[in-house]
């Protein structure tokens, strides 16, 4: 049933192929317009950072992509087909995996059990050896270092737990991986571990959507940054050329004016053109 087929997923995704395209996504909760007319693209083998202040609508967008909320308006195109994502399970089956900030690991279970939780491989009884072998080879591909696959995950460090959570999202070979604040609670060394992991995801051909507050991380691993402000697109930046000041200004709206909007619009066009 469930198979880890990293090679296949990487091969199937042509580098640069648009995996996920959102157009005109809107979502309101009562009187609060959480998202208005938001566009977003994620390509294969690309890390897109989704930036924005608190309340900018990042979480709402993630929840729409992971099937928790349906959008009020707009279209989601996944690998060329317009799709509707009705539930978290539907999102996972479609090929969109989400790693939430609180990881949602079962501390009392070991690494292998957590990786395959909810999609255990069985032949009447659990196929422990098959799962352990697949887990081991998956973690090896990610160059992840874990002390033991057979001890409870409660004994792992924050970075290692994040590694397990990310590796778990890869079981089932999703095309797009959404990471919600993966480095928020981590120290310097552990953050570096996770950033390496994100680069590994890009090499494998996954499209990565990285939600974060941390500009340093964004500069380190992301190819593009999409900024949301008050539920609207507020600029898209090619990280090779954009300065920190420009990005911060877009996040905070410090210099929101006709001039910056024009600049942002230009950047958006440039981003779409590539």
């Amino acid at each position: 049933m469930t198979q880890i087929e990293p090679a296949q997923s990487a091969a199937a995704a042509v580098p640069g192929e648009a995996l996920l395209s959102l157009r005109g996504i809107s979502k309101a909760f009562g009187a609060v317009q959480a998202l208005a007319d938001v566009d977003l693209d994620v390509h294969a083998g690309e890390v897109v950072a989704l930036l924005g202040d608190n309340g900018a609508g990042k979480s709402t967008l993630v929840k729409i992509l992971s099937g928790v909320h349906p959008p009020d308006a707009g279209t989601i195109t996944f690998r060329g087909d317009v799709v509707s994502i009705g539930s978290p399970v539907a999102a996972r089956e479609l090929g969109i995996a989400t790693v939430y900030q609180d990881l949602a690991l079962c501390d009392n279970l070991d690494v292998v059990a957590n990786l395959f939780l909810g999609r255990e491989q069985t032949k009447v009884l659990l196929s422990e050896e098959v799962m352990e072998q697949q887990a081991s080879s998956l973690l090896q591909q990610l160059s992840a270092k874990l002390p033991s696959l057979r001890s409870p995950v409660a004994g792992l460090s924050g970075g290692q737990r994040q590694t397990v959570a990310i590796a778990r999202s890869l079981v089932g070979s999703p095309a797009v991986v959404i990471l919600d604040e993966p480095t928020a609670a981590l120290g310097v060394a552990q953050t570096a571990e996770v950033l390496n992991l994100i680069e590994r995801l890009r090499e494998r051909g996954h499209g990565v959507l990285l939600i974060t507050h941390n500009l340093v991380d964004v500069k380190e691993v992301a190819d593009r940054a999409v900024v949301l402000r008050l539920g609207r697109n507020n600029g898209m930046f090619d990280l090779q050329h954009a300065s920190d000041e420009q990005i911060v200004a877009a996040i905070t709206g410090a210099t929101t004016s006709a001039v910056t909007r024009r600049a942002a619009a230009k950047a958006t066009k440039a981003g779409e053109g590539e």
């Binding site: 939430y100 059990a113 696959l149 409660a154 004994g155």
Partner: protein, 416 residues
């Protein structure tokens, strides 16, 4: 032509854990101590506790370790031990069932009334009792899933309501004797494993254990995983064989191993396999460990909790039937008194955490041995029930303290 070799055979996991060195007792002790310091004590404290209790009881009354008394002790374990298996399942999903005693009393009443007054056959009576247990478990599950009623409260209500139902069914009689020639009474009172068969059975258990260990090692090697040492598997199997055969020989000095105890152990083994080797078991542990993580992994949390609650009430029903068979009677006092707390205490003393997600089926076996050893020993000493209650309470307290301490140690060592 040049040869190109892909290095496909690179080992997946670098360090084989204790593969070639083989089994050394010193190494095993060292790893045990290391795990114990990290708060992963396993069944060791219970086994030590049991040894201490047996030693003390034997000193106080030298009849305690006699074959006759041990045969008796094991038989006494069967009914409440069976209930404790259900408690383990309920605790594993981080729920509680306080009505197991009342449910066992109700099933005893159904057995008595069904057999003697309604003229039902034994299979029909047992089926009716189990159906009642099934319905009760479903009611608790529905109350939790639909109305969010915590099982603590729902089963507390059940405790009272079922006791009332038990009294109602028994009517004015108060106590109903079950004929001695009923199968379940003979099963509980007179059936023992034939002496020759017991030795064969013990050997079969050891051989099965060895075969399963070897099969597992073979599967692991087949998948390129470190397989552990064969000599340790053989050493453990031989040790198991010796212990079981000696135990059989000793108990065979008297009646031998009773059928109810064998039934109890078989149920423990079945539940252990279900818990550790099936998807359902994995999901039970997941729900007990983190209900939110389980839900996000796509596990139907309500269904898993319901399955544990239903099994809990079914085992309580079965335990009640066995208890009624043992005393050949159903009365208003069936399932009351210590049954409830003894069953819960057995699961906890055996090492199943009250906080969910930790424990295994064998804790029902170990725990009930401790509880019944105390009860049996104190009865031999002719101590009053009052003293028995106080001592059992003290032991339970110690067990819960051990549970909390190991939990804290695990937290300190990052294994919470």
């Amino acid at each position: 032509m040049s040869t190109i070799k892909d290095d496909l055979a690179a080992p997946v996991v670098a360090a084989p854990a204790g593969g070639p060195e083989g089994f050394s007792p010193a190494g095993a002790v060292a790893s045990l101590l290391r795990r114990a310091r990290g708060g992963d004590v396993g069944p060791l404290p219970v086994i030590i506790g049991l040894a201490v209790i047996w030693a003390v009881m034997q000193v106080l009354n030298d009849a305690f370790l006699s074959p006759r008394n041990l045969v008796n002790l094991l038989t006494q374990c069967a009914s409440v031990g069976t209930i404790a298996i259900g408690v383990v399942l309920v605790l594993l999903v981080a729920q509680i069932d306080l009505s197991i005693g009342s449910m066992s009393g109700l099933s005893a009443a159904i057995l008595g009334v069904g057999l003697t007054q309604l003229g039902w056959s034994l299979p029909v009576t047992i089926a009716v009792a189990l159906a009642a247990g099934l319905v009760l478990g479903l009611v608790y599950s529905a109350a939790l899933a639909w109305f969010g009623v915590p099982t603590f409260v729902a089963t507390l209500a059940g405790l009272l309501a079922l006791l009332g139902l038990q009294l109602q069914i028994l009517g004015t009689h108060g106590s109903i004797n079950i004929p001695f020639d009923t199968w379940i009474v003979r099963f509980m009172q007179q059936m023992y494993v034939p002496r020759a068969a017991s030795y064969v059975l013990a050997a079969a258990v050891a051989v099965l254990y060895l075969l399963s260990r070897l099969a597992r090692a073979r599967r692991r090697r087949h998948h390129g995983l470190p397989a552990g040492s064969q000599s340790s598997a053989i050493a453990l199997s031989v040790a198991l064989l010796v212990v079981l055969e000696v135990a059989c020989w000793y108990l065979n000095q008297d009646h031998g191993i009773s059928a109810p105890f064998v039934l109890f152990v078989v149920l423990v083994v079945i539940i252990d396999i279900l818990l550790s080797r099936t998807r359902w078991g994995r999901q039970v542990y997941a729900v007990g460990g983190s209900i939110e993580a389980a839900r996000r992994a796509g596990i139907n949390v309500h269904r898993i909790i319901a399955s544990a609650l239903v099994l809990g009430t079914l085992f309580a029903t079965l335990g009640g039937l066995l208890a009624a068979g043992r005393i050949a009677a159903a009365s208003t006092s069936s399932g009351t008194g210590t049954v409830n707390l003894n069953a819960i205490a057995a699961a906890v003393i055996g090492g199943t955490s009250l906080f969910g997600g930790r424990g295994n089926a064998y804790s029902a076996l170990l725990g009930i041995l401790v509880i019944q050893s105390i009860a049996n020993g104190l009865t031999l000493l002719n101590l009053a029930a009052s003293v028995q209650f106080m001592i059992t309470g003290g032991v339970l307290m110690v067990a819960v303290i051990v549970d909390s301490l190991t939990r804290r140690r695990r937290a300190a060592h990052g294994r919470a």
